[in-house]
């Protein structure tokens, strides 16, 4: 991997991190009046995956979508405005954090019903195949989503039709407060399920962006060469509460030591150390990056905060397409 790519991967993770932290910081002002599911700790996955996608490729996401949206190239300003419920938001304020979209870059949309966007992503891949296009679709979802039957229905259909789709499972060990062991049989990996469907499958370290990048590369090549779908299961960890801006390890549903272990494996720290050790970036570079990102987010915040609210007359607009 060339330096430029490595730096870009790092930069993008850092950017998502800083944006999410800014959202957390501002959330308590009670101006972002919708649920937000932050992906702090999980940034390597969207970044490593989307690095292989062009604007022609499609991504669909779930409730925890900010990272996917940003990594795919979704506009920051209209994302922030959307979270603020503004008319200049990416969904005109009608969707909020759980319904981001930026079709111009192929980030089609996010929907928070668990697993519900997986078949829709498969449908985009199916359309591509029917139309003879050369696109790849990616569905991002969590470990919880693999418990929904529709997930399996999708694997079956994707395998049946050899669709150009990549299923990305972000396994952060929890669904809200519920650990894997109350939801899935002990010792059975999610990737094993996909193997049962005879789908190309890999299990990777979701906190190692280079690992994510490498595994995805193969999956995208497979998809582009019409060899069919892949499922990649990436192990990771969410640092903050399931929904909202706070830390919540004090609630006791996950142990402090577990959380600490994962903090040490923070994908950004890890990459920073790697790039530092290799002499690819310096602390100075990072300060520079942070500054750039903060400027960007500041102006996005201004855009969002100053943006107009949607007015009563658009309430009934767009119920039907004309």
């Amino acid at each position: 991997m060339d330096k430029k790519t490595l730096i870009r991967l790092f930069f993008q993770m850092l950017r998502i991190r800083i944006i999410e932290e800014k959202i957390a910081e501002h959330y308590t002002n009670q101006e972002m009046r919708c649920p937000v599911h932050l992906c702090i700790g999980q940034e390597a996955i969207p970044v490593g995956v989307c690095a292989h996608l062009t604007n022609e490729d499609y991504v669909m996401s779930n409730h925890r979508s900010h990272g996917h949206y940003l990594a795919k190239g979704g506009g920051l300003k209209c994302m922030m405005a959307e979270i603020y419920g503004k008319a200049n938001g990416c969904s005109s304020g009608k969707g909020g954090s759980m319904h981001l979209t930026d079709p111009s870059v192929g980030f089609l949309g996010a929907t928070p019903i668990v697993a519900s966007s997986i078949p829709i992503a498969v449908g985009t891949a199916f359309a591509g195949q029917l139309k003879g296009e050369d696109r790849v679709s990616v569905a991002f979802f969590g470990d919880g989503a693999t418990e929904e039957g529709v997930f399996h229905e999708c694997l079956n259909f994707a395998a049946l039709k050899k669709l150009p789709i990549i299923f990305i499972c972000e396994n952060n060990l929890y669904s809200v407060y519920s650990p894997l062991q109350v939801r899935q049989p002990e010792g059975r990996r999610i990737s094993t399920l996909a193997k049962g469907h005879k789908i190309e499958t890999h299990l990777g370290d979701g906190n190692d962006v280079i690992n994510v990048y490498r595994l995805t590369k193969k999956a995208v090549e497979r998809a582009r060469s019409e060899k069919g779908p892949s499922l990649l299961e990436f192990m990771t960890y969410r640092f903050r509460e399931h929904c909202g801006p706070a830390f919540d390890n004090d609630l006791g549903y996950r142990s402090k030591s577990e959380a600490l272990g994962w903090e040490h494996r923070c994908p950004i720290k890890k990459m920073r150390k790697f790039l530092g050790d290799k002499g690819i970036i310096t602390d100075g570079d990072i300060v520079q990056m942070e500054k750039e990102i903060e400027d960007e987010i500041d102006s996005a915040l201004t855009y969002a905060q100053k943006g107009p609210f949607p007015t009563e007359d658009i309430l009934m607009d767009h119920v039907y397409a004309s």
Partner: protein, 354 residues
């Protein structure tokens, strides 16, 4: 009057699909049994031969995912027609239909749309029983973002289906099993019946009968006998349950002052309640007698013919309601329409099994 081209309902549906597919390469049809030898009661026969297996497809028994897949394909430019052999099977797909398809255009601020037709068959008779004969149109009509269509005549079946396929929204297209062999004039060329327009299929000044799907045929039967009794009915076939054509219904009731609603679904919390609420809210002072609704009683669909006989209201119930509405006593002897076939089969030559 131009020469009539008489065709059965199932063929009208078939023509609509075939012509839309010929017209627009992005239209495809998918569903359990679509290319099979029976072709969904004949409605999909010959399509796979004409358009090939990439546009006329069977699918796994995965209603939920397959609906989502159809939606996904629709938002990136395809125009899927999904078919369910029974509406009851679509209960597995409601997350995709209601949470996703219905909201898609709205919740992303109008940037995308999901042009998708979901054909569902409403069963009835020959012991289809509790899980193969529900008539759930009111569920779909309740959901903003969906359009709901229920044709009665072959003419409307073709014209409404073409319009539905061309519509840029998710359209729930409900076909009553008992209509497939009804015959009527069906022009050969593509034509469109607009969504959102009810059809006054009979004019009369005494009672307005608002009916859906197969109940429209029952209303027509009823109206002939009522005519003999001097009661002139105006029959309005709703056709598009959502968006509802209030104007046509209100105009009729403004004239007649009397309202009977006959729907194929359950009465309680059903579509007939909407019609009554709509009319009483808007035309309270013009109503001369209490509106009456006719629908299924509040119990599951029984399998035995001995019970289904009492389950499905028909022309006789409509006659009674209309007479009551004009303040006349009902007279069993003269009023009763005698059945010409067993009550649990769609046509005289039906011999089972579905």
């Amino acid at each position: 009057m131009p020469v009539q081209r008489i065709r059965p309902f199932f063929q009208a549906i078939n023509e609509a699909i075939a012509q839309c597919m010929a017209d627009d390469p992005y239209v495809y049809i998918i569903g359990l049994g679509v290319p099979d030898p029976k072709g969904i009661f004949g409605t999909t026969l010959g399509l796979v031969e004409k358009f090939g297996p990439k546009r006329v497809m069977d699918m796994p028994t995965s209603e939920n995912a397959m609906t989502g897949i159809a939606i996904g394909s629709a938002i990136v430019g395809m125009r899927p027609i999904m078919t369910h052999q029974r509406i009851d099977f679509a209960l597995l797909a409601l997350d995709q239909i209601v949470n996703q398809a219905a909201n898609w255009h709205y919740m992303f601020g109008g940037q995308m749309h999901a042009p998708l037709v979901i054909r569902m068959i409403i069963g009835r008779g020959w012991g289809q029983g509790p899980q193969h004969s529900q008539s759930l149109q009111n569920w779909f009509a309740h959901i903003p973002g969906l359009k709901v269509v229920m044709p009665t005549t072959p003419y409307d079946a073709k014209g409404l289906l073409i319009t539905s396929i061309e519509d840029n929204n998710p359209v729930i297209f409900l076909e009553h099993r008992w209509l497939y062999h009804i015959k009527g004039h069906v022009p050969e060329e593509i034509y469109r019946v607009p969504l959102g327009q009810a059809s006054v299929i009979r004019q009369g000044k005494d009672v307005t009968i608002v009916s859906t799907s197969h109940m429209t045929l029952e209303a027509l039967r009823a109206s002939q006998l009522l005519e003999k009794e001097g009661v002139r009915t105006e029959i309005i076939d709703v056709r598009t349950l959502k968006p509802l054509d209030q104007a046509t219904i209100l105009e009729s009731v403004r004239k007649t002052g009397r309202l009977v609603v006959a729907d194929t679904g359950w009465r309680f919390c059903g579509y007939s309640a909407e019609i009554i609420a709509c009319v009483t809210e808007n035309l309270f002072d013009e109503l001369k007698s209490p509106p009456i609704r006719i629908g299924l009683p509040d119990c599951p669909s029984p399998t035995s013919p001995a019970l289904s006989r009492y389950y499905y209201p028909g022309a006789n119930e409509i006659i009674n309601a209309a007479l009551k509405s004009v303040g006349r006593k009902t007279n069993k002897e003269t009023m009763y329409i005698k059945p010409t076939k067993p009550h649990d089969i769609p046509d005289a030559d039906f011999t089972g099994p579905f």
